[in-house]
């Protein structure tokens, strides 16, 4: 390789290194605010992938663009390039580096996964081990989120909340007070235990601000755990396509201080159950009068849930 090429490329490599670091920093701004301890763990991991990914993508693109600029054939140059069939050393290097890289990334992902200790998947083996034992083994690179999870696990446990997904609504039930709601209220900084049910088809429990998702499977109860750490209201979305009104199958998650949470529970318990507003039912009963093109026969939505608490429907409830 010519000296010019070596110098140019090393200069670009250094620039690229800084740029990749910058992208890794930026990646935190591409996702919703970190509302659960788990979100921080996922975002740190994602940032590593973004940094390396940027380096690799541009590390391939820059040499391509470089050769396009400097290795072009002249208009009347019909000769061939040098007859180079390969280079064993290079080929060994570019086999070994990706192997090391993917094993490293797998390890990092495994450690993050371990620290998150999401209950859901363990459901199949039904091991209700205290997660602390496992988690303690993994030396954390930033242990704040993990600490938050541990403290939350140690503080007063919250009852298991039943989550039922159906076509197309969400119902949350707090068994101790026998409160039902179409909005999921949670206390901050506590380890939350959910029991996920589906009445009909597959659904997905997805809270982007928590970076957590779990498919819900009919005829099975799936345990799911996480730790909200930020007070606020966050969307819960059905993530696994569930038929006609899938896109409208959303609910709010309200993370509150433990005092507010208790207050809300008490207030809700005092309300008599009444039918909640339900977008799917609203649209279904309105039929195809909406002026949209076409429309085929749909599965009928389950009737609107009858609950103690439901948020007011949006004022401008023109669901179109």
């Amino acid at each position: 390789m010519k000296l010019r090429a070596i110098l140019t490329l090393s200069f670009l490599a250094v620039l690229l290194g800084f740029f990749s670091l910058w992208m890794a920093q930026q990646s935190y701004s591409w996702v919703p605010p970190e509302a659960a301890a788990e979100s921080k763990l996922v975002d740190d991991l994602f940032s590593i992938f973004v940094g390396l990914g940027t380096f690799i993508l541009l590390g391939v693109t820059i040499p391509i663009v470089y050769s396009l600029m400097f290795h072009r054939a002249g208009k009347y140059d019909f000769s061939d390039g040098p007859h180079i069939e390969g280079n064993t050393l290079l080929e060994v290097i570019w086999t070994a580096v990706p192997i090391v890289l993917v094993l490293g990334l797998s390890t990092a992902s495994y450690r993050t996964y371990d620290k998150m200790s999401i209950q859901g998947p363990m459901e199949l083996v039904h091991l209700h081990l205290p997660q602390l034992v496992e988690v303690a083994n993994a030396a954390p690179f930033d242990n704040t989120p993990q600490k938050e999870i541990e403290t939350a696990q140690e503080s007063a446990p919250i009852e298991d909340i039943d989550v039922t997904a159906k076509q197309w609504s969400w119902v949350f039930r707090y068994p101790n007070q026998n409160v039902t709601s179409t909005e999921l209220h949670l206390p901050v900084d506590r380890r939350i235990h959910l029991a996920l049910h589906s009445d009909d088809v597959l659904h997905g429990f997805y809270v982007p601000a928590f970076r957590l998702k779990q498919d819900i499977i009919p005829n099975r109860v799936i345990d799911f755990e996480f730790t909200p750490v930020r007070i606020g209201t966050y969307p819960l979305r059905d993530s696994l396509y569930s038929g006609t009104y899938f896109a409208a199958n959303q609910a709010n998650i309200v993370v509150q201080s433990p005092a507010d949470y208790q207050q809300w529970l008490a207030d809700a318990a005092a309300q008599p159950p009444s039918p909640a507003y339900n977008q799917a039912n609203f649209e279904y009963s309105r039929g195809t009068k909406s002026g949209n093109i076409g429309g085929w026969k749909s599965v009928a939505p389950a009737s609107p849930p009858i609950v103690n608490y439901s948020p007011q429907p949006p004022v401008n409830s023109s669901p179109d």
Binding site: V60, G86, G243
Partner: protein, 571 residues
Amino acid sequence: MTNISLEAIDGTRAQPYPGAPDNWKRFFTFSTDHKVIGIQYIITSFFFFLVGGLLSMIMRGELISPETDLVDRTVYNALFTMHGSIMLFLWTFPVLVGLSNYLVPLMIGARDMAFPRLNAVSFWLIPVVGVLMIASFLVPGGPSQSGWWAYPPVSLQNPTGNLINGQVLWILAVAISGVSSIMGGVNFVTTIFKMRAPGMTWFRTPAFVWSVLAAQLIQLYGLPALTAGAVMLLLDLTVGTSFFAPERGGNPVLYQHFFWFYSHPAVYVMVLPVFGVFSEVLPVHARKPLFGYRVIAVSSVLITGISSLVWVHHMFASATPSWMRILFMVSSMLVGVPTGIKVFGWVATIWGGKIRLTTPMLFALGGIVNFVFAGVTGIMLASVPIDIHVNNTYFVVGHFHYVIYGTIVFGIYAAFYHWFSKITGRLYYEGLGKVHFVLTFLGTLLTFLPMHPAGLMGMPRRVASYDPEFAYWNVVASLGGFLLGISTLPFILNMVSSWILGEKAGDNPWRAIGLEWLTSSPPSVENFEETPVVIAAPYGYGTQQPLVEANPNPGLIQPSFMIQSPNSEAV
């Protein structure tokens, strides 16, 4: 090497066999000529590419605003189901089978495929699949609305209660397409094993042929699983068996295993031949041998192997136990190794070459860059914690469109331009080709890049309406989608007008090395007048080595530069 054969420009030998069937009517017959079948596949599937594209533009029209204000939700759901199904089963699979059909026998010096009649049957099943898919728009209740993966229980809900409904037609269409693919798989594998020209050892076989072999082996081991899953789904839907129906004690997650056991490897059925196209196009337009040819060839087969062990990465959120999540995370990431080897090999191939920025070269390089991006997001998706966040969001949609559009469609365009002169005997218009490339590249960037941020923010896929926070990225993606629609116009114009009016090309306008370039353009019915005898590895750029043994009648099928040193030894 510098003395290009001017004689090749002379078009008089374009049809060496007098009376060779060269009229357009043969494309509507049950022809057994692999070249006719290849073109039949390509044109039929391109028609469905336009149909699928039209559906996607209606979807992008709906998604340009957050509310459902263009089409009814049921219509939207039918659109994304049919868009995905048409693009996969009627465009990507068949167009690649068409290209492989056209090229493989020529590249290995064979007269035809091993089973020409079976080949014709495989093709004629494709229009049947197409008719079934389109017909499903006309039955009561409309087409299937359960997505291209048709997960039960949604796919088992039959709101009209009719026995003939969109979902049943969909399953039949997919099953027939599977039968067609299995026939194709048997045919390709046999052809490649048995019909290579004398002297064409494995390491003298072009990388494209290796990649087709690797892809078709996947069809053979994978399709039986999908077919079994489809049959059980059909039985659940029509006669009320209970394989997957939860209300009758079935297990819907089992279906996902059947589906992904095939459908993950299926993505490699589609991308491997495109890797092969890149490996053929780059050396020609950079005038350098394919760097690390043997490793690139073998890595195709490695991909076949590894890709059979990664399917659960589509099910990380489906109540998959932790040990399985971790195991399949590692295996999925390992796919990055053989693909990385290929990418580095391609970059090294053009490095220091004598590059000409022809249209096929632009599409190949653009496709490689897009593929690296898709690979990066693929590795992110393989990481369980990241996937738990972005699974079933627009991030996944962005990832696979970067592969399927950014890489595979780019590779297909590269192949069309690269072999256009071989197929038609004429030259395409380079200027129009470049316009096409620029529009396609920009369109791809605008349409599919914004899907990544939308997904990271938490926008689920398959939604007819969405929260206003995602509107910005969706407007950009919709505008990009319309641009992509427009980008096909210069392509169609170019292909049609060049085929009819283009300058005569001669046999080998690129001065490329390869058996397909040694015969006439378009090739005669029998492909080669004399069976070529291969005496060298492919990609001999920069050497004077001939690829085949000197022909006793050299003027007929050999470009003159091959005749200079007829007796150099083989490698």
